[in-house]
Symmetry: C2
Subunit: 396 residues, 2 copies
């Protein structure tokens, strides 16, 4: 049989990162992952709640559920987002989804025809880019600066590109850059999109994981016009493997996303929706997040200490105030892809920056580092080896 | 803000069944659902296993997993399908998915461009039809007879339709018809598709739930050419709410489906993948399925007894040998939609047959009944009321 595949899938390649992780050699220290620290899962509390669900609600928890999600969890999420972050008006609704990636999938399904334009920060989370590619969308990258998108480039794209359906952004603790978009730029981005009638997909999986500095309001909290689709996930605060997140969006858009969700997975895992609702209601959710912040303050500190001590001065890096990542830039003339191979030979895996480029063929001198996944020991050891590798590689 | 939606979603309507279920009046007995019986979930065994996972594997179970699924579960599924049903060759692979609907989603994503043709049994499972519609595919229905598709109509469609990418079929205990495609027709369907180089999506969520008669080989067990994508689900044997199923397909197709799955939900709930693997390995999985068969033999018997006693003779119905549904046809001239309303007024909810039509505007004289969801008492009572309603309605 000669197989013929759809255009949308023919040009979509497996995620470079997942391929790196899949073929991982146990002797190589990985700074390539994007996994939350295992200590960030509240396992013993989850077990208590799971036991209760098994004893008193199994018939409900194991039956089909509602596409929009478990009502009590939806209510708790909406209430918390509103009270803590000023997110959501009476024109918005909330839906529980199967992890953050599903927000990218459903947003694109609902808003973009094949060939329509999606604007994205460049570089950006490769998982999101691949989802947009899987709809054969026309992707246009907006270059990133130290405090967020290049606003002039955004304005130009909004004016010149045809059929722009939405802008994709991670304003807080950007993946892969580790930076935050400034408040001023957030306002400019919101105003520009509102003026052009273009929706914003605000992806905020790390927003609660700030360990230094002060919170910056989300785009969604400014959303008087009903143009922001806001998504976050439980992956970094409860568990990544349970595949649960949420989306808050203007009701007419959310209704269409629910129709789309019926057609992709009917609804998300109900057992863990109940479990999270119980956890939010009866346990110290905020205290738990505070613990995770402390954990990542510590881990990012360990990595940054080693970077300061061991990286050659011509290597630039971002200093994150939250989230899971930082971003390094090699000096001009250095071959990043060659360095990634070189580092692997020395025993450290990192993700080439080109994996995050909107234009997959564009050259990059950058790579991404992750400090949330490795143990403290491996983190220090891995960053130290990377420093030695950099000195050796750049001296050649 | 004036919202503009994609063409694919503009014409997609919420599932009629889910809307019926959502607005369910507690005083109305529902024979409209498609839910497994609550007794079919092995709750106490699942709790034992869950406790063990919490105690010994939580760090792994709550972390990100592999897109293709938990390796041990994939292996157990493949082994069981091969040994018991002759499914899967060395050219096939297996992937764990987030419920059966995801097989429809990924198959369409991977095989069909917008406007390409998908052939489907008509009537067919409305969830699958909506998924195909969500890709703006050109849907062509093949009329169903008592023993499966009208083969002449299938042949004609394969010859005349352009860009036919796959045929969708539920050969065993069809939803909504409750019938099985005969062995002879299965062979004809396979041969015709192989000759035309058209893939088959064989949806088999109920295949193991035969309570009378003898098993008929699946299309996948005949698949020497590598044209069958086979999917089944754990929804009817473990739990519907956990959203887990599997797909067995030729490796090149499965590889593309995995790339597609990365872009929709990264991977399926890992905790329950481990739980099912443990259940299959250490508990009596076959014995559990045997128990469910007994349960549905009993429940279908209760419904059929009441139908035989109380339905007017001019109402035709199918006699299922497995699965969850049976299908009733009103005499010529009767207005089915009017009857569905009439029955609801009498206190029984049923699904209008038109919900399952490939052509949504086609007239239907049929409705679907479900016997797996209600308690025995409600089942008998509901079917009795329906009989009375039929007699009254048809006498008018």
């Amino acid at each position: 049989m000669q197989y013929h595949f759809s255009r949308r899938i023919e040009n979509l390649h497996p995620s470079a990162i997942r391929e790196i992780l899949k073929n991982s050699d146990p002797n190589v220290i990985s700074l390539a992952a994007g996994n939350p620290a295992v200590e960030s899962f509240p396992v013993s509390e989850m077990k208590e709640i799971a036991d209760r669900i098994f004893d008193t609600e199994a018939g409900f928890a194991f039956q089909y559920g509602i596409t929009e999600g478990y009502p009590r969890l939806r209510q708790l999420v909406m209430q918390r987002q509103k009270e803590k972050f000023g997110i959501g008006t009476e024109k918005d609704g909330v839906m529980i989804i199967s992890g953050g990636t599903q927000a990218m999938d459903l947003t694109t399904k609902v808003l973009a025809n094949e060939g329509d334009t999606i604007l994205s920060e460049d570089p950006a989370f490769v998982g999101a880019l691949n989802t947009f590619r899987s709809y054969a969308a026309h992707l246009v990258g907006i270059p990133m600066e130290e405090d967020g998108m290049d606003i002039a480039a955004l304005e130009k794209a909004l004016e010149e590109e045809k059929n722009v359906r939405f802008l994709y952004t991670i304003p807080s603790f950007h993946n892969p850059l580790g930076i935050c978009t400034s408040l001023e730029k957030r306002k400019q981005i919101y105003d520009l999109c509102a003026r052009h009638g273009v929706m914003i997909l605000e992806d905020n999986p790390y927003g609660e994981l700030r360990f230094n500095g002060e919170d910056i309001p989300t785009l969604k909290s400014m959303d008087t016009e009903g143009i922001v689709i806001y998504t976050s996930s439980f992956s970094k605060v409860m568990s990544a493997g349970i595949r649960l997140g949420f989306v808050i969006a203007p009701q007419p858009v959310l209704d269409k996303m629910a129709v789309g969700k019926q057609a992709v997975d009917t609804h998300s895992n109900l057992f863990f929706q109940i479990l999270i609702a119980d956890y939010m209601e009866k346990y110290d959710y905020d205290g738990h997040i505070e613990m995770i912040r402390g954990l990542y303050r510590h881990k990012s500190g360990l990595m940054l200490d080693e970077i300061r001590k061991g990286f050659p001065p011509q290597v630039k890096y971002t200093t994150p105030q939250g989230g899971l990542f930082l971003w390094c830039t090699l000096p001009e003339g250095a071959d990043m892809l060659q360095f990634v191979q070189f580092a692997k030979g020395k025993g450290v895996a990192i993700v080439p920056g080109s994996a995050f480029n909107v234009d997959e063929s564009a050259v990059s001198r950058c790579f991404r580092l992750n400090y949330s996944t490795p143990t403290d020991e491996k983190l220090v050891q891995g960053t130290r080896i990377l420093g030695e590798a950099l000195r050796e590689f750049l001296a050649k």
